[in-house]
Symmetry: C2
Subunit: 127 residues, 2 copies
């Protein structure tokens, strides 16, 4: 069963997108594996304190991307393979790196300073 203990929603971005990213990043990290069960829509929405329809929207998009399988009455399960995970890495990880590099350059940060900042602030972040 996939847990959402580490899920910390942020203000400003749609919750369903954050759920999507949470699952994708877990798949990239390997903490979420093929066949893993997801909590039901109702349970997860109660757990996160949001509307069931918001969870449903996120799960629907995961299914459209063929990352989960759902059928009425049973819990949804992850459907992952090496190819899909590689695609996720390219999609999520690459985009994250690209956007932070652009932002830092806009602030006049040099590559060396960027590396120093990232390295120094690595410990302080809570996973």
């Amino acid at each position: 069963m996939i847990t959402f203990d580490a899920f910390k929603p942020t203000e400003g971005t749609p919750i369903y997108q954050q759920i999507l990213l949470y699952i994708k990043r877990g798949a990239i990290a390997g903490t979420i594996r093929n066949g893993d069960e997801l909590p039901s829509r109702r349970v997860l929405s109660a757990l996160l304190g949001i509307n069931p329809n918001t969870v449903q929207k996120a799960f629907k998009m995961l299914e459209d991307e063929a990352l989960i399988e759902s059928q009425a009455g049973a819990k949804s399960t992850m459907t992952l393979d090496g190819e899909k995970i590689a695609k996720l890495r390219e999609e999520v990880l690459r985009e994250d790196i690209r956007s932070i590099a652009t932002a830092l350059r806009q602030m006049g940060i040099s590559r060396e300073e960027a590396i120093r900042l990232l390295s120094e602030n690595w410990e302080e972040t809570e996973s």
Copy 2:
């Protein structure tokens, strides 16, 4: 006069927030300085192809944060000093670093791998 040549709006985040960030990052980089004139609401909205009210909202928030001064009939100007810029660095730069570190850790990326990825993708980004 502050230019918006390097302003590339992204989908998914409100435009007025992106304008805010663009100005703040410019101030942090030092490319935007105290006393610099901003384009008028109407001119900038036409330049960016967006509604004047959207620009007005961004400028209103900049004024609420005391980063610009406005008076009817005259162009708005930046009001920066060392303290404000230091505060912006803490607010924008720190948050950017913190969020990317969290995201990368969620994907199971090690500190060394993160540094390698950032370094490798530094060149490819266009400022």
